[in-house]
Symmetry: C2
Subunit: 97 residues, 2 copies
């Protein structure tokens, strides 16, 4: 592979990644809109935001869905961050417990 | 809203989240396969894995794509985790620098 071929291959890969990232941002926002609906239900019923059993179910779902190449532990760490950010959003927007 | 209606609303929201999460796991793996291709090109050309300018471009792309309700800083923190996990994967799989 020449340097120019390598550069072209990297450019094509990066365009692909940018497209995947945009779809991921759209999904994250879709997820957060559902989380806001959950927050609204919980706030109206005076239910707690944090439910450890539900979080276990979320992790079980993503691990079952993960066919690799990303290792389960990596997917789990990524979702820990996602869930943490969404919990903060749910707390600040809905004023729920 | 009755307790039963609240439970049913939460159940429906959670089904929706589980579906979104499965699509997200698929996208993360799609992204990691492209990252592996990048790693292979870089390894063959003896190029470094870490390129700060490219990471800036990744963040610029996701912030531009983010229409909310997730705040930019939250999306950025989520992608910091994603990029960090993928950099580790790229290093371990490809043996690149």
């Amino acid at each position: 592979m020449t340097v120019d071929e390598a550069k072209e291959a990297l450019r094509a890969c990066r365009d692909e990644i940018d497209g995947i990232d945009r779809r991921m941002v759209a999904l994250l926002n879709e997820r957060s809109r559902v989380v806001e609906r959950i927050g609204a239900v919980k706030a109206s019923m005076d239910m707690p935001v944090y439910e450890p059993k539900r979080e276990d179910a979320v992790y079980a779902n993503i691990v079952a869905a993960n066919g690799g190449p990303i290792p389960h532990e990596s997917v789990r760490r990524i979702f820990e961050r996602i869930i943490d950010e969404m919990r903060t959003l749910q707390r600040t927007r809905m004023g729920a417990k």
